[in-house]
Amino acid sequence: MNLYQNVLRSDEKAAFGLRELYRSYGYLPFKMSKFEEYDLYVRNKDFLVSDNVITFTDTNGRLMALKPDVTLSIIKNGKDLPGTVEKVYYNENVYRISKGTRAYKEIMQAGLECIGEVDDYQILEVLTLAAKSLEQISDESLLDLSHLGIVSEVLENAGLSDEGKKEILNLLGEKNLHGAMEICKNEGVCEASARAIKTLITTYGTPEEVFPALKEIGISEEPIAQLEALVGAMKSNGIDSVRIDFSVINDMRYYNGIVFRGFVKGIPTGILSGGQYDKMMKKLSRKSHAIGFAVYLDLLERLEDTKEYDVDTVLLYDETDTPEEIAAAVKALSAQGSVTAHRNKPNLKYKKLVTVKEAKNLG
């Protein structure tokens, strides 16, 4: 692998590294076709990051789509086998609208899904792989963890209207305390519940910092204990990039339980996103549980350093040099890095410029 360090872009490096990581944990590659029936996406529009899909009519008249998402295809194509888990990873291109340009973009995505009898160990394994994926990409990474069970219980206890719940959820995602408190006031939420909502919005940090405050908010112990056990197990396995952050709010119509998002220094948005999506499984008539995540590899180009030089050496030849001499000079110079041979000085940034005659003398 190290052979190609100079050639691979950071997204390619990450893609290979991640595949190796997932394979080493026994995940199998999932290969799918480029197209999927459009129908699948129409029925589950809200699950997609953007609801614009590139469509075309197939030769038999069916409306097809260039896949904007991989998870749906994996769920659709799998079978429920009671008592087992299916572990797959993928590295695929998806097609989505980019927010900035409002045009379609090809996005390379890597990720994995664990579907079936998902128990606490499987969740731990997926979280571990998420944290390790981030470590592969950058030396400085953080995995933000939330538990939708905790969030929904707090909102339920507050006795909010459906509209109010939706708004508070959005405000939680923005860490917008002043907005949330105003809604609490307008809807007459009791002080204890408002305090619990405040705790969810304002707590962020290492598990040690967050759990004491979390235990004060008066909800059932089960989800907190689950979260605490998972984080503890990760820590004893040498992963301490975990932070608790309830602003990670995946759509509650599809997700439940543990949800998470990954950040690396230097990329302004999250580059990894995942969680348990049992509700989505149910919608697609699957009985199993599921958890998975995706890494947005297209964002990694921002980590790419600008190269100082296009090439190490430029070799200049003239009509007196024979092709044989030039080839010999190229061969000798290429031992020290990249070399490009030209008759006239090329428009490139280079470290040094040598003629064939100079190269011969050096050799």
Binding site: E140, L142, D144, L177, H178, G179, G266
Partner: protein
């Protein structure tokens, strides 16, 4: 990305007020008060770097990570919906987003309402929530003259004191949402520079509490 906390401030009167709050919170940067045309100011001792940008651009700098923190009006946040954290209501730069029309305007629900505005998304959301069909006319300035010239029936715009409206014989017929300056943070910056951002937040929050 470095250790310094990058803060985007809105150029203008509001920005100066905001800077005064940062200063009072203990994150001063004396060079900012020198009268020159520089746009970037640093105080390595406190670990802060301030820069002045156009108020409507603050959210862009923060969303894309060029700034870790910034101060932007709620109007901009509602209009562009940037992916940022909204950490504090600074309770300054207060005004409201309102619907205004000529004093003799009478709404006819059978007709599509012509709305002139700079804030297309806010206007659309407002009227969609009312179930009202509208025609949006996007203007970049001098919105007030649109109803006078018959270009639109109403306008959706920021109203501070209402003087400009009055001088043009317009009046507010509906308030959409109150507006004030908000402290926003980049999502990644918030995590990797959390300690410092929390310190800034606490310093600013103490002041907004006082002003309430």
């Amino acid at each position: 990305m470095d250790k310094m906390l990058n803060i985007a401030l809105p150029k203008g009167r509001l920005g100066e007020k905001v800077y005064a709050m940062f200063e009072a919170a203990g994150f001063e940067c004396p060079s900012i008060k020198e009268n020159n045309r520089k746009l970037i100011f640093e105080n390595p001792e406190k670990g802060v770097r301030y820069f002045w940008v156009k108020p409507s651009d603050v959210a862009i700098y923060v969303e894309r990570g060029a700034a870790d923190l910034g101060v932007a009006g709620k109007d901009i946040l509602l209009e562009y919906r940037p992916e940022v954290y909204e950490l504090l209501d600074l309770n300054i730069g207060k005004c409201r987003m309102a619907v205004a029309a000529k004093s003799d305007f009478r709404d006819n629900p059978n007709r599509t309402l012509k709305v002139a505005t700079k804030f297309t998304n806010i206007a659309l959301n407002h009227y969609t929530s009312l179930g009202r069909d509208i025609d949006i006319i996007h203007l970049n300035g001098s919105i007030e003259i649109a109803p006078i010239l018959g270009l639109s029936d109403v306008i959706v715009d920021i109203v501070e004191t209402g003087t400009t409206l009055k001088e043009n014989k317009l009046e507010v017929i509906d308030t959409i949402v109150p507006i004030s300056a908000r402290l926003i943070a980049n999502k990644t910056g918030f995590k990797f520079k959390n300690e410092m951002i929390q310190a800034v937040m606490n310093g600013l929050a103490a002041q907004t509490e006082e002003s309430k």
